[in-house]
């Protein structure tokens, strides 16, 4: 049912865990639908003083695809400028994993939304300070 890459990310998730003093946190999904993703980001700057995702972590309650897409997202977003990271398409995460079953594509969308929520939280925090 799942590609080898999906199973690899499921069994060996990258960037999994909590992040202390995160600059932005996004939580998406809900227990009723079965998947909850929490994305933490640490924002730094590149040589051109453009904000980048210096570090990213995730915590997920969900199926194999939910965990694998969370993990894949963190790999794809890490080191990118925020604007670049936000360009990661809703289904691009699934593509990067070598595809997902039709019924699991919403996990890719959820991971995408998780990052968007974390960035929105970061921007809100920045405006407040």
């Amino acid at each position: 049912m799942y590609s080898e890459k999906v199973l690899d990310h499921f069994h060996h998730p990258r960037n999994q865990g909590k992040m202390k003093a995160a600059d932005g946190i996004g939580q998406v999904g809900n227990p009723v639908c079965g998947d909850i993703m929490k994305i933490y980001i640490k924002v730094g700057q590149n040589a051109d003083s453009v904000p980048i995702i210096e570090d990213i972590k995730f915590e997920t309650l969900g199926c194999g695809a939910a965990i694998a897409t969370s993990s894949m997202l963190t790999e794809m977003a890490k080191g990118k400028t925020i604007d670049e990271a936000l360009k990661i398409g809703k289904l691009e995460i699934a593509q990067e994993l070598g595809g997902l079953p039709e019924a699991k594509l919403h996990c890719s969308i959820l991971a995408h939304d998780g990052l968007k929520a974390a960035v929105a939280d970061y921007r809100q925090n920045k405006n407040k300070s």
Binding site: H11, P31, V32, C33, G34, I36, L61, G62, A65, K104
Partner: protein, 398 residues
């Protein structure tokens, strides 16, 4: 690569074929390959094998040989029982609109059959709820009966939570109702999960139709059967040859039929009660250890009116499909009623019928033991389960 211990605890999904069953089947592929409907010696040999098999199966159900029909499995048996009966009654009484009653926890092979009838306007259907422990209440069933009710279909043992339904009581109740009704109510039970563990004598149960399958009882896949009480007439689903009274035409699956009969014979023969007690003891120890080692565990389904081989858990804050995948990596086979495993994104209709909240249903795990499980399997399973639950909870944001 490190070899992983293999522990199969998904016997409600399918069972391995018992080596004695396989041995009985093998001659019917290569040497005794005849068509049981042929007149020559090859055909006669095959016919004898089918007759003997039918007799063994009839003995198990305490019915006559002519009341046993062979099908491709329980899905076909359920479809044939339900569609066959309704089509027949509609043909016999033009204009008559039949009404059916099923429980809300039936297998999809029954639920989808009756939904398909309803969707085509061929029958009305009532779904009877179950208690929070997953058992049909006979009073609720009686309350659903109407003047045009023709069929009640209630499974014997539920495939997900293992609850045993009061078939005998329902059978007796329907018989009583039938004495005062112009329109007879037929009673069907899907006994697929019951054969190993429960009394399946049909007159004792009071059923008119009973479905069963080979691959849940250490027999082969692709063979099953339907007990059809003498005098009950069905319209066939298939048309073709004249086998099986035209009710189920098609060349006899001789090797499968021999396998099915051998598997059924083995249930009856080998100290059934002792084997049931052995499995129940293993299951009870499994449940006790899981409850001791893991927090946030809910048990689904009645603990007494229950098949001895089934345990159904919910682990709070854990998603079932992830759990199944992690355990699979450790060589363990179990299953889940989580939405994420179904492809439909709806959690199991059985767990929903118990009133279990969706967030809990997502964390369900079915463990179904069988003939070849031993205590070492259970010990290994609980150790790995404890580790997997801990790991997933640690990954969760909750």
């Amino acid at each position: 690569m490190v070899s992983v211990k293999k522990v199969y605890l998904d016997n409600a999904a399918t069972t391995p074929v018992d080596s004695r069953v396989l041995k009985a089947m093998l001659p019917y592929f290569e040497n005794n390959f005849g068509n049981a409907s042929s007149l020559h010696q090859f055909g006669l040999d095959a016919r004898v094998a089918v007759d003997r098999a039918q007799k063994k199966i009839a003995d198990f159900f305490a019915c006559s040989k002519a009341e046993i029909y062979f099908t491709s499995g329980a899905t076909e048996s359920n479809n044939l029982a339900i569609w066959g009966l309704i089509q027949r009654l509609r043909l016999d009484q033009p204009g008559f609109q039949p009404h059916l009653i099923v429980s809300s926890i039936e297998h999809d092979a029954v639920l989808e059959s009756v939904r398909a009838l309803a969707a085509r306007g061929l029958a009305e259907v009532s779904y009877v709820p179950v208690t929070a422990r997953g058992v049909v209440k006979v009073e609720k069933l009686v309350a659903a009966v109407k003047a045009n009710t023709v069929l009640v279909s209630v499974m014997y043992v539920n495939n997900e939570i293992g609850t045993i339904q009061p078939i005998e009581k329902i059978g007796a109740t329907i018989a009583k109702l039938n004495r005062k009704r112009p329109q007879k109510i037929y009673f069907h039970t899907d006994a697929t999960q019951a054969l190993n563990y429960c009394d399946c004598r049909v007159s004792h149960l009071g059923v008119d139709l009973l479905s069963f399958s080979g691959h849940k009882i250490y027999g082969p896949k692709g063979i099953g059967g339907l007990y059809l009480k003498s005098g009950v007439v069905l319209e066939p689903l298939f048309f073709g040859g004249h086998q099986q009274n035209n009710i189920r035409p098609g060349t006899y699956n001789v090797s499968g039929i021999v396998g099915l009969a051998t598997a059924i014979d083995l249930i009856g023969a080998s100290n059934r009660q002792r084997e049931n007690q052995r499995i129940e003891k293993l299951r009870d120890r499994l449940i006790a250890t899981v409850q001791r080692e893991i927090s946030g565990v809910v048990l689904n389904g009645d603990l007494v009116k229950r098949s001895p081989n089934n345990a159904n858990f919910v682990f709070r804050g854990v998603e079932g499909e992830s759990l199944v995948l992690l355990l699979s990596e450790r060589g363990i086979a179990v299953s889940t009623g989580s939405a994420c495993s179904s492809g439909s994104l709806e959690p199991s209709h059985v767990l929903a019928a118990l009133g279990l909240a969706p967030e809990l249903a997502h964390g369900s795990l079915r463990v179904s033991l069988g003939r070849f499980n031993r205590q070492t399997d259970i010990d290994y399973f609980v150790t790995e389960l404890t580790r997997a639950v801990k790991r997933l909870r640690k990954m969760s944001p909750l």
